[in-house]
């Protein structure tokens, strides 16, 4: 049962990674002069869209938390709207945090906001898919001994690694190497992407490695 779960987790994660890889290569067939560094904003939008789509599809196909009761259509619609609002809120929150961290306030607003969007895509959307618009559940998952399933555990890992990646991505900005990727926010978005991918790849392995120690009380 458990090994089976981990296998499913691995496949879904690989699909997510695959979607990111696709977002790098597919647009170059349709768009001229597409490259990650030069048309960075386009790539950000596309990547965000791809990852969101794959996450949604996986959510409907795999149904990691199948314990939800059937509910009416209006309930579903409110739920969906709530999710959208949460997503937007998280984008704005991240934007504010970036500015507090030292991002320019007025210049490069679009760049900063798209960085907030992609970071939300990597962190908030999986949370929304898995936990729903339920802030208490989120707070529970991100505390010690708070996870209740391997899905939540992997969510914890990928989210934290995305944040860490974005944070590490800010470090090379002051260096005088004069590379095109050192421009705000390219290094941060790339860092977040690498962090997310690393989280996706490592979390099933880590869970597999620790499967003996991990016991989830409620399940």
């Amino acid at each position: 049962m458990k090994d089976n779960d981990i296998k499913r987790l691995l496949y879904t994660h690989l699909l997510c990674v695959f979607s990111i890889i696709l977002s790098v290569f597919i647009p170059s067939f349709f768009l001229e002069n597409f490259s990650i560094l030069e048309t960075h904003l386009t790539w950000l939008c596309i990547c965000s869209g791809f990852v969101t789509a794959v996450n949604l599809v996986l959510y409907f196909v795999v149904k990691p938390n199948a314990s939800y009761k059937r509910s009416s259509l209006s309930h579903k619609v409110t739920r969906f709207l709530k999710c959208c609002i949460y997503f937007l809120m998280s984008c704005f929150t991240f934007h504010i945090i970036f500015v507090l961290y030292g991002a320019p306030l007025i210049e490069l607003v679009l760049e900063t906001f798209l960085f907030a969007v992609i970071l939300s895509t990597f962190t908030t959307i999986p949370c929304l898919c898995l936990l729903g618009p339920n802030l208490k559940a989120w707070l529970r998952v991100f505390s010690r001994n708070g996870v209740t399933s391997i899905w939540e555990n992997s969510l914890q890992i990928t989210t934290i690694s995305s944040f860490v990646g974005a944070w590490l991505g800010a470090l090379p900005i002051p260096l005088d190497w004069e590379r095109p990727w050192q421009v705000w926010p390219i290094s941060c978005t790339l860092g977040a992407t690498f962090g997310y991918v690393a989280g996706l790849v490592t979390s099933p392995l880590w869970i597999y490695w620790k499967r003996k120690q991990l016991t989830y009380k409620s399940n």
Binding site: G102, F142, R144, N145, G146, P174, D176
Partner: protein
């Protein structure tokens, strides 16, 4: 007694750090005094007549000029082997083909075809081999060091006597083209100048092509006497590609064409000099003292024969680079610059083609003699001004010079002497000049690696000691007194032995070395003691007590010192780190479940004891604190000053004083904002004191806070008004305004001093209410009102001292006054330490604020707000462990140190010399200080290190604050049900959280905690300075060492010294309050007895 030993122990640790810093500095920072004396034409360098009756000729000064014009082509980083002729007469050797070899073919051709007209030298360069220092050397003839202790740090302009100055004062037209470093060095000295930016090291061609555009037209126009062209391409190519790159070959070929073109154009009265200012390493860097860096090429050519008599040597001669200065000066008929220590190239004075050997030798001797007189005069003046030079060697040199000079004079009077005598005179003069130069190099221009390593090792040892002792201090068996006495005794013993040794050998005593010996000899006994007393019992792993997050951030911070980009960008990097740290703290608190009530997190709790991690604050509260902190940090970051003005970076316009603003309305608005910040600061402090009740106390410090502080704010505001509008004052009031702008700052400073004195005199700010007739014979000490809550609190809620005193009172009162029931109520005891600290900090902040520009007051307000929020946030994570041991966690100390650094930047400072706020020296002294230097230095230092001082003095707040926060949030809490029995037993005490009285109740733990706090803060600061020294010594060959790393090290070292002094003062203040509280208690007892 224990308090004094804590202070002494900390002072000893500081001394260890100081000794390390001093040792490292003496090895790393080469210092020299800049003299501003000038040589003049009229004044010969020494007694004796000038040769050739120089007054008659128009272009002759000390000697008749030999060339009327000079073309100086400076090719940056032209290493000697770049210009070395390639001989192909070795058949067995395979031809070496490196991109930089043999590309200057025109030199080789000229040397072969016209040996009497041209010569190539290997010029020996003195470190530091950076362009600016080399340019100074090439014009002053001296040895520029990193700190040329001159009158002015703010600009790079050369104040010493130099060739360019001599040229312009002689009326020669100097035309310059090339590197814009010259613009800073010689502002306004050139009759015509074409400067090109040298900033971008990756740009190989802008400067060179710019020069080539102007070089030949200028030459042909003839409107010049000295033409200087400074090419940068070779140097930039070295930095970008390294010497082993095809680009270098191209660049050198281009230079070859330049030389070829110049050789074709120079006329008979012109000397062509092609020189490299320094070499480069195998990687193309420079700045250090390796063989490749210090060997540069020097090539001389003239259409008239330069060297008629002698054949060129096989191998190019090695001459010191500075030799060019006296040589050029005398050849052009100028006085030799005053501070020159170079030796003239005597061959060049051997006269024309048809000169006799005798007269040629005489001419050489004359030039050398003038040179020697000048050097002797310089040495005499210099040694009178400072003690750098070794007296013994100086004496020997003077003897040598007087002998050679006497020989020379004697020869002049009896000119029929044999030529051989003349050659001895020449040899003697040369010996003197070389000796003088060697002595100067010895004292000015050599890194002492041994001292650098020793200093760094001492710093590392001191850091280790801090770590060890801070872990050990709170453990029960920490022996205060023996621990202190033994190292001091050993240190003294070491000093005595060392001094005795030196005295027997007869060497001079070096205070720096003496300090280092004392520090080193006092270290091992401590270690031994530690090992015996503590280390052997526990695993060494406890020595690394950092939580992972702290260690990680500390490592990031330390690694940043090793990159010049990060040092330059530290103003932005520190707030980033601080912000990350704050969010990390919040995340950690949440992760540990301390932010949210456990109800929310109950789903899977694995039976962890819920009482242990009871949240002490609600999540939203901590979140608000964090966001507020981030906001403050970001706002403070708006006051950002660039290390240097580059297109990519703009300094904040808010850093300039209001007086520089035009536009009355904006100025008035800003003035209002500044005064508003001042009032807000004042109001916040008063509000805080009122909140904890200390303001009600009738003691003098609180009276001062009530009346003196507003007066200080008023004085400050009035001074700002005067300073910002001084130019607009009507003429009648000028004198009044001038007088007021002298008096006001001094009055504010005087008020602050008197406030501090009052605070030290009566630091206990409590309100005592005594009255008879209360129902019970009780002394109620009311630190605050509000019930304690947790189990842990209740267990220790009544401290021994409290009970003890009660019983004592009761016993004594019953004895003395059996009939009189009495109540003494003392309020605000719970915040008595913090109240004193906060008052002291406010008193300190006002004079410091006055030294800054007006708008910095907003930053000061932010600073207080920020530290307040940080203290609250940290207090949320620090559990109170009564009755001790008390500890301050590492993350608190690190965050505090980070915030000190961040405030240093947000008050408009940068660790570079041009960014120092010199105007601070004139606050209260608008007319300057006359000859005194310590007062302006103190004012500028206080301005620069204001944040270091404030945060270091405020450091004990880290220990006090969690106790202060005890009163909050707990009042609402109900009693846990299990404690009812206990609660019934002691119903009164529960209403009184003891707050800081907990510290008083365990004096031993209090002292240990203060010691630990001091050691931890010193460790965090010390490890930073250790990283700085390591960066400076490892990267001493780095391009940016003198521009970035060395200033950073100096600022960090000075900041450390200020911080450590401030820390000692802060801890001493807390101890003074503690002592006063004790005596207050004693007096209370006595009063009860009467």
């Amino acid at each position: 007694m224990q308090k004094i030993s804590v202070l002494l122990f900390l002072a000893w640790v500081c001394f260890l750090f100081y000794a390390g810093i001093a040792l490292f500095t003496s090895g790393f920072l080469l210092t020299r005094l800049e003299l501003t004396n000038h040589s003049t034409c009229q004044e010969p360098p020494g007694p004796g007549s000038l040769p050739w009756g120089s007054q008659g000729e128009p272009r002759a000064c000390w000697m008749a000029s030999r060339f009327s014009r000079v073309v100086l082509v400076l090719i940056d980083a032209l290493r000697f082997d770049f210009a070395q002729p390639q001989h192909s007469h070795m058949p067995g050797e395979p031809p070496v083909s490196l991109p930089f070899l043999g590309k200057l073919g025109s030199l080789q051709r000229i040397l072969e075809t016209q040996p009497h007209h041209a010569r190539l030298y290997r010029s020996q360069v003195d470190p530091p081999t950076t362009t600016m220092q080399r340019l100074k050397a090439l014009t002053t003839g001296s040895l520029p060091t990193f700190i040329d202790a001159g009158s002015n740090f703010a600009t790079h302009a050369i104040v010493e006597d130099n060739l360019i100055k001599q040229l312009t004062s002689a009326g020669r037209r100097v035309v310059f083209m090339g590197d814009d470093t010259w613009k800073d060095l010689f502002p306004g000295a050139f009759s015509q100048a074409f400067f090109f930016p040298s900033f971008n090291v990756r740009d190989l061609h802008t400067v060179d092509n710019g020069i080539l555009e102007h070089l030949y037209p200028t030459m042909d126009s003839g409107e010049w006497d000295v033409l200087i062209a400074h090419f940068l391409g070779v140097d930039h190519c070295g930095h970008k590609h390294g010497p082993n790159h095809p680009e270098m070959a191209k660049k050198l070929s281009q230079m070859d064409q330049v030389i070829q073109g110049l050789v074709e154009r120079v006329e008979n009265d012109t000397l062509l000099v092609v020189a490299g200012d320094h070499g480069m390493t195998m990687n193309g860097d420079h700045g250090g003292d390796s063989e490749l860096e210090v060997s540069a090429a020097l090539f001389l050519y003239s259409p008239t024969a330069l060297f008629p008599s002698s054949a060129p040597p096989e191998e190019p001669e090695v001459i010191p680079q500075v030799s060019l200065v006296p040589t050029l000066a005398l050849l052009l008929g100028l006085p030799i610059p005053f501070g020159n220590i170079g030796e003239v190239m005597a061959e060049l004075f051997s006269g024309g083609e048809d000169s006799q050997p005798h007269s040629s030798a005489l001419a050489q001797a004359t030039a050398l003699h003038l040179n020697a007189q000048q050097v002797s005069r310089f040495l005499h003046t210099y040694s009178a001004a400072t003690q750098d030079l070794q007296a013994k060697e100086l004496h020997q040199l003077q003897n040598l010079f007087s002998k050679a000079s006497a020989d020379y004079q004697w020869f002049l009077q009896s000119p029929r002497e044999a030529e051989a005598t003349l050659w001895t005179v020449i040899a003697e003069l040369q010996q003197f000049l070389r000796g003088a130069r060697a002595m100067c190099i010895e004292s000015w221009a050599r890194f002492s690696l041994v001292r650098m390593v020793g200093g760094a090792a001492l710093l590392a040892a001191a850091c280790f000691l801090c770590l060890l002792a801070s872990q050990w201090a709170t453990s029960p068996g920490f022996p205060f007194r023996p621990l202190l006495l033994i190292p001091v005794a050993w240190g003294l013993a070491g000093v005595i032995v060392y001094a005795g040794l030196l005295a027997t050998i007869g060497l001079k005593l070096d205070p720096v070395l003496l300090g280092a010996v004392a520090a080193m000899s006092s270290f091992p006994p401590f270690l031994w003691k530690a090992w015996v007393g503590w280390g052997s019992k526990r695993p060494l792993a406890t020595l690394l007590p950092f939580p992972g997050s702290v260690l990680l951030l500390l490592l990031f911070r330390l690694a940043a010192f090793f990159s010049d980009s990060f040092v330059v960008a530290e103003a932005r990097a520190t707030p980033f780190l601080l912000g990350s740290f704050i969010l990390l703290l919040l995340a950690q608190l949440h992760w540990e479940g301390q932010l949210l009530p456990p109800k929310l997190l109950t789903v899977p709790r694995l039976g962890s004891s819920s009482s242990a991690c009871l949240p002490r604050h609600s999540g939203a509260y901590a979140l608000r604190l964090g966001v507020g902190l981030l906001l403050c940090t970001r706002l403070a970051g708006l006051f950002h000053r660039c290390p240097e003005e580059t297109p990519a970076c703009h300094s904040s316009p808010w850093l300039s004083p209001l007086a520089s603003m035009v536009g009355g309305r904006a100025k008035n608005l800003w003035y209002g904002a500044c005064v508003g910040a001042l009032v807000a600061l004042l109001a916040a402090v008063r509000l805080w004191l009122r909140r904890y009740g200390n303001l009600k106390s009738p003691e003098p410090p609180m009276l001062f806070v009530r009346w003196g502080l507003p007066l200080m704010a008023l004085g400050t505001a009035a001074y700002w008004a005067l300073a910002s509008g001084a130019d607009e004052a009507p003429p009648r009031l000028r004198a009044l305004v001038a007088g007021a702008s002298v008096v006001l700052p001094r009055a504010v400073a005087g008020l602050a001093v008197s406030g501090v004195v009052l605070l030290l005199w009566k630091p206990v700010t409590v309100l005592v209410k005594a009255g008879t007739g209360a129902p019970r014979t009780r002394t109620v000490l009311t630190p605050f009102s509000g019930p304690p809550t947790t189990q842990a609190d209740l267990n220790y809620v009544v401290p021994q001292i409290y009970r003890h005193m009660q019983e004592e009172f009761r016993g004594r009162l019953e004895k003395t006054k059996p009939e009189g029931p009495l109540t003494v109520a003392a309020y605000q005891l719970g915040s008595v330490y913090s109240a004193a600290m906060v008052t002291a900090l406010t008193l300190l902040a006002f004079p410091l604020l006055l030294l800054h520009a007006e708008r910095i007051s907003l930053v000061f307000l932010l600073l207080f707000l920020q530290s307040f929020l940080l203290l609250h946030l940290l207090a949320a994570g620090i559990p109170i462990t009564t009755p001790g041991p008390f500890t301050v966690p590492w993350q608190a100390v690190l965050a505090w140190a980070l915030m000190a650094t961040q405030t240093f930047y947000s008050t408009g400072h940068q660790p570079v010399f041009p960014a120092i706020h010199w105007h601070a020296a004139f606050v209260g002294f608008p007319e300057g200080h006359g000859s005194s230097t310590w007062l302006p230095a103190l004012l500028v230092g206080a301005n620069t290190f204001a944040s270091h001082l404030l945060f270091a003095v405020g450091c004990p707040l880290l220990l006090l604050w969690p106790f202060l926060c005890e009163s909050q949030g707990q009042r609402k809490r109900r009693q846990p049900p299990g404690n009812e029995a206990e609660a019934r037993v002691r119903p009164e005490e529960e209403e009184e959280p003891l707050m800081e009285m907990r510290l008083r109740d365990a004096p031993h733990h209090f002292n240990a905690a203060l010691l630990q706090l001091g050691l931890k803060y010193l460790f965090v600061l010390g490890i930073q300075i250790l990283a700085c020294t390591l960066a400076a010594s490892i990267l001493r060959r780095h391009l940016m060492v003198w521009k970035v790393f060395a200033p950073k090290f100096i600022f960090e070292a000075l900041g450390f010294i200020v911080s450590s002094v401030g820390l000692l003062l802060g801890i001493a203040l807390v101890m003074r309050v503690d002592g006063a509280v004790s005596s207050w208690f004693r007096q209370l007892v006595l009063a009860q007895q009467r």
